[in-house]
């Protein structure tokens, strides 16, 4: 007898769950759009599971607050398909502009073309898409240049040559390939003096950085002079392996990304250096330029702005963007 | 102790369409081994399940240790001191002896197990039975006999006062049987009651003090073993004449030429299925338009024979000829191609697709015939087929689209028969064709088998119910322990005669007692 009402009950409950979930999760979005003229901008990052991208998003949001624009957050979940879906949804919503760091430059090109076709200005940050002609502009720092900066530091630290161990990033991922390329660009011409004695992927992962380094050190007759890694997580992992073999201070350790944790290690001397690409500055600059274009119609000049990545050592640590985050 | 250990009175249990127990009476004294006998379907297993708490009786009272009890669950029965040792053991093969012994009541502190205490207590229990088994051994590494001993030791460790043994010797070798009987004697001396369920009448004569014989859910006889002979027991078990239940249909059929011939078929131990009965040198012929009854007790190897012929299980040796031509059968697909069909023993597990509609169940084997371009099943042709067999077999269903799970057992079985009829087989093997269906439906199935035979199909019918075998068969072949023990024309066979051929001979005390297990066919 109760079956009818109960069945309705469960239906209603699920519906209610959905509505409540959505309502709770979308604060202010409706009211925001109701106020006329407030710009709405999509800030899309490759994946918010990486603190690096969270930092960029935070900078975009902080800058947005300053400029009085609304930011829609887009989490690509490290998938070009997901990021494409985000961009398409933003086009449907008729956002005023897009600031995006593409998960994969080639794979995101079609989606960005759609945005351009819909007359939505797009600024790219960090990773440049050169296949879509109509993009508004780009602010970035070349990953290849960052890899070169790592190598240049090695040349500076070891003028008489060195043995190098190289921890590569996620196989197939753009930044991993470019950073590796940069390192080789500089080191390969001087092969006879600077020898890469070990080269292996640790997939951008701290635990892998530790285990790969452990294995490598165990297999080597004499430890390398330098360990260089394509991101900070891996070098921090490698640092633990170095410590465990009592080699601290005997091997130069060079990371990448200038994460707060790495910076504090540089500060206390256990890490030799990390590479600063100014991701936050890239992000806020890109938003500035976009808003300027939307409000005044001035196109960014130069269209492509590349910040020069620098190696952060103990001596110039004050140049690091996220120094203030160190406790 | 005064009075019986167990007394069950007026026990009645009805299942849909079957009266399994009908005012049954059963009594066990302390310190007694009591044999519980009866044909398949006489009500033994239902009685055991009531005793072990798996079923509740509809009517009737149970007194245990002098007080009225209800056994609402297996756990309750266990707590009261009634332990059941099933044919297929309730041991977990991947765990150790000690773990099995104390499963669910491991000694220790709070939630933590004390392995030391568990090991010691297991040793103690095992030594009570004078067993030398390592408590830390994995059960899967033990022999069948040892596993059974573990079950008994576990029952004792639970302070059981009544131990039920269901076909305890079927999987044991001679030496193990002897040891089991010593232990039974031992338990009797300690005042425990033992219920001994078996087909092996010889063993009953040897170990039991008294027997109770069930037939059609009632107690039809019993008493002290010393005053009874094996022949008396068989008479009590068989009781009525077969004509009372089923009309004999075989009389006017005229079997034609031999359709299938099986020569020297044998089946060795199969690691995938270690409990299967091994088959030795089976020779068999079946003629067009004939129903060949295959009779035997549980474990005689009837189902194994059927599955081996059909290619469902591997066989090591043997030639099969169809219509005089030797054929190779390695899989059911081969068998079907050569015109052999099998209605398997367990309808739900082996024949039905419970989630699918009746039409899909019926047509699954004939899809090729119903398809155009060899691929696309014609709905119209399929429905026509279903309609034809619905009429022919009088399958009662609201539509061809209903799930087969919603049909009664009898109608489900008719669908399975129809599946094979639609293929127009030369030989059809039906394994327990009327298991679990009501009496009216049984008669209908018999009638259908008769019609199929008249249409020229050679039928091999396996049944545990002798009256059924007698009613439908032109000829009856008996099996025992993987061998064929006799062949009797249907019109001359009697239940007593078949029982003789089927019953298991044991040579337990070294001297074969052959007065019952006559292996010569009585032609």
């Amino acid at each position: 007898m109760l079956s009818g009402p109960r069945r309705f009950g469960s239906l209603a409950r699920i519906l209610a769950l959905a509505v409540v979930g959505i309502a709770l999760a979308s604060p202010m979005s409706r009211t925001a759009e109701a106020q006329d003229k407030k710009l709405v901008i999509l800030g899309s990052l490759p994946g918010l599971k990486f603190p690096f991208f969270v930092h960029m998003l935070k900078q975009i949001e902080a800058e947005g607050k300053k400029l009085g624009v609304d930011i829609i957050e887009g989490d690509g979940q490290v998938s070009s398909t997901k990021q494409t879906a985000d961009v398409e949804a933003a086009i449907t919503r008729k956002v005023d502009g897009i600031v995006i760091s593409p998960n994969e430059v080639d794979a995101m090109a079609p989606a960005l073309q759609e945005a351009v076709d819909a007359k939505i200005p797009v600024m790219t940050i960090d990773r440049r898409v050169d296949k879509v002609p109509g993009l508004l502009g780009h602010v970035g720092a070349d990953n290849t240049k960052g890899g070169e900066a790592q190598a240049q530091l090695i040349l500076k630290l070891f003028p008489n040559g060195a043995t190098v161990m190289n921890l590569q990033g996620q196989p197939g991922a753009g930044p991993a390939i470019d950073r590796n390329k940069g390192l080789h660009n500089v080191l390969d011409p001087v092969k006879d003096k600077y020898k890469i004695v070990f080269e292996q992927t640790a997939e951008f992962d701290r635990v892998k950085g530790l285990s790969v380094t452990e294995a490598a050190l165990a297999g080597m007759k004499s430890p390398p002079d330098v360990i260089v890694a394509a991101n900070d997580d891996m070098i921090l992992g490698a640092m633990e392996a170095v410590k465990a073999r009592n080699l601290s201070g005997k091997i130069a350790l060079i990371g990448f990304d200038a994460l707060p944790e790495a910076l504090s290690r540089v500060k206390d001397g256990s890490l030799t250096a990390t590479i600063e690409q100014f991701p936050g500055l890239q992000s806020s600059k890109a938003l500035d330029k976009l808003v300027e274009y939307l409000r005044k119609g001035t196109k960014p000049d130069p269209k492509i702005e590349l910040l020069t990545p620098i190696a952060i050592t103990k001596d110039n640590i004050d140049k690091a963007e996220r120094l203030s985050e160190i406790k | 102790m005064s009075g019986p250990l167990l007394r069950m009175e007026h026990i009645t249990k009805r299942f849909p369409g079957v009266l399994a127990l009908d005012d049954a009476f059963f009594e066990v004294e302390p310190g007694e081994a009591h044999g519980l006998l009866g044909e398949n379907g006489a009500g033994k297993s239902t009685l055991l399940k009531i005793l072990s708490g798996a079923y509740q009786p509809d009517i009737g009272s149970i007194e245990f240790g002098g007080e009225a009890v209800t056994l609402e669950s297996p756990l309750a029965a266990q707590r009261k001191g009634i332990a059941t040792i099933y044919q297929e053991f309730n041991l977990i093969p991947t765990m150790t002896v000690a773990e099995n012994m104390f499963l669910g009541r491991e000694p220790g502190y709070g939630r933590f197990i004390s392995w030391k205490r568990m090991r010691e207590q297991t040793m103690e229990q095992l030594s009570r039975l004078r067993l030398q088994i390592d408590p830390m051994a994995l059960v899967s590494d033990l022999s069948v006999g040892e596993q059974q001993m573990i079950e008994i030791a576990r029952a004792l460790s639970m302070e059981s006062r009544l131990i039920i043994m269901d076909e305890p010797t079927s999987a044991l070798n001679e030496q193990e049987v002897r040891r089991l009987f010593h232990i039974v004697d031992d338990l009797k001396k300690r005042g425990l009651g033992i219920i001994f369920v078996t087909h092996r009448l010889q063993e009953v004569m040897e170990t039991c003090d008294r027997v109770t014989v069930l037939r059609d859910g009632r107690r039809v006889g019993g008493g002290e073993v010393a005053r009874l002979s094996v022949d008396d027991l068989i008479k009590m078990m068989v009781g009525r004449s077969s004509t009372q239940l089923f009309t004999r249909l075989a009389a006017q059929r005229a079997p034609g030429p031999v359709v299938m011939k099986v020569e020297g078929l044998a089946r060795d131990r199969d690691p995938a299925n270690p409990y299967a009965t091994l088959l030795k040198n089976i020779n068999l012929e079946v003629r067009a338009g004939e129903i060949l009854g295959l009779a035997g007790l549980m474990g005689a190897g009837r189902t194994e024979l059927a599955r081996s012929i059909f290619g469902a299980d591997p066989r090591e040796r043997g030639r099969i000829e169809i219509g005089g031509e030797p054929v190779t059968i390695r899989s059911p697909t081969d068998a079907i191609r050569h015109g052999i069909g099998l209605v398997p023993e367990d309808r739900k597990q082996q024949a039905l697709f419970l989630e699918l509609a009746v039409r899909h169940n019926l047509a699954i084997s004939s899809l090729r015939k119903l398809s155009f371009a060899g691929w696309f099943v014609s709905d119209a042709a399929e429905l026509e087929l279903v309609e034809r067999y619905r009429k022919l077999l009088d399958i009662r269903m609201t539509s061809a689209e209903v799930k087969i799970a919603d049909l009664s057992g009898g109608n489900q079985q008719k669908v399975v028969l129809a599946r094979w009829l639609a293929l127009q087989p030369k030989v059809l093997i039906v394994d327990e064709p009327t298991r679990g269906i009501d009496v009216a439906a049984k008669a209908e199935v018999h009638q259908q088998l008769d019609l199929m035979a008249r249409a020229g199909i050679a039928i091999i019918a396996i049944s545990s119910e002798l009256p059924e075998i007698l009613a439908i068969s032109d000829r009856i072949v008996t099996m025992r322990e993987g061998r064929i023990t006799g062949s009797v024309p249907g019109d001359r066979a009697t239940e007593e005669g078949l029982m003789d051929l089927m019953a298991v001979e044991t040579t337990i005390l070294g001297e074969p007692r052959s007065q019952v297990g006559v292996s010569e066919p009585r032609l």
Partner: protein, 344 residues
């Protein structure tokens, strides 16, 4: 006993007399949930219902949807395929290499760059790679009797490694227009991937519903032993479903590369879980024998709509993931609940 029966009887009659619209609702629980969800989104964000957005959603689901069709075949036989995402990557790379004649990436936009064998060879190559991958796994499952979960878990790793090896020099991108058309083109307003997805859904529907082979799949999944004893070649059926899902994964890899104008080794990561989710939401039982293509299409759309709607509403990305997870469980729970009701 008799009293109890008597008391239950009238109850049952009332139940069966209940309006059949409820029976309908419970029968199509996932579809009902989809419609409700769409109504909610449409109210909260009117642009959700714009044709452009709806076609976008369909295009977004079409690639995983294609694989979900194959996964339906596999799960109907009580199997599973975890390797699909990796197979998509390998197939996409195979297509890219065939199309471009080398593994080098080209960034120029000129259409004259095709020194390779063209889109047709690329498509066939991707499909062939998928089918070969499926056939290898099917062989391991049927002949070596390794459980599908284990075989395809191995495949997940093997094919991903293969993809990384092939594309060591980075993503391969920049295809000619006829190649890209398969991912980016439209016929009228309808994106090509959507047409491919729906076409294969229609074919799969016909195969499962109207062919012998379809019946055999349900039979094998419903009761393997009964299927064997009924003369169904169980091994052949099991083998074939892995070839089918390989075919569709290969095709999906090709379409994805055309859609993104790029093939990368990390494409398709995590597809297996989304695909299995859409199949299960569509009412297909992981135990086999029960399910339909219609359900899978609904399940795929439901996931796509959910993601799209939450993005449109600017829900916090972290909360999005939580919401999606909860709603997926709720839909399947509702389906189970409705089924239980129906059976009583």
């Amino acid at each position: 006993m008799t009293q109890a029966t008597a008391a239950r009887q009238p109850n049952r009659e009332q139940r069966s007399g209940f309006p059949s619209i409820l029976a309908m609702l419970s029968r199509y629980a996932p579809a009902v949930c989809l419609v409700l969800l769409m109504i909610v989104f449409a109210i909260l964000e009117p642009s959700f219902l714009s044709p452009l957005n709806l076609f976008n959603v369909m295009r977004q689901i079409s690639i995983e949807g294609l694989i979900a069709i194959g996964m339906t075949f596999v799960i109907l036989t009580a199997g599973i395929d975890l390797s699909v995402g990796s197979l998509v990557a390998v197939a996409g790379l195979a297509a890219a290499i065939l199309a471009k004649g080398s593994t080098a990436s080209s960034f120029s936009l000129s259409t004259s760059e095709a020194q390779g064998y063209g889109w047709f060879a690329a498509m066939l190559g991707a499909i062939a790679v998928g089918m070969i991958g499926g056939a290898i796994q099917g062989t391991a499952i049927t002949m070596l009797k390794v459980p599908p979960f284990v075989v395809t878990l191995g495949g997940l790793s093997v094919f991903r490694g293969l993809a990384l090896m092939i594309s060591a020099s980075g993503p391969i991108s920049g295809f000619d227009e006829s190649y890209r058309w398969w991912g980016q083109g439209r016929i009228g307003p309808v994106p090509i991937p959507v047409i491919i997805f729906l076409a294969f859904a229609a074919i799969a529907f016909v195969v499962l519903r109207y062919t012998r082979y379809g019946r055999q799949i349900y039979a094998v999944g419903g009761n393997r032993e009964a299927a064997r004893l009924s003369g169904v070649n169980v091994r052949r059926v099991l083998f074939s479903v892995y070839v089918i899902i390989g075919f569709l994964s290969g095709l999906a890899g090709f379409v994805l590369s055309a859609r993104l104008n790029s093939s990368e080794a990390v494409a398709g990561i995590g597809y297996e879980l989304n695909v299995i989710a859409s199949v299960v939401i569509g009412g297909t039982s992981l135990f086999g024998g029960v399910g339909s293509i219609f359900g899978t299409v609904i399940g795929s759309i439901l996931i796509g709509v959910l993601i799209n709607g939450l993005v449109l509403l600017n829900v916090n990305p972290y909360v999005q993931q939580i919401t999606i997870g909860l709603i997926l469980v709720a839909v399947v729970a509702f389906d189970q609940f409705a089924k239980a009701r129906r059976l009583k």
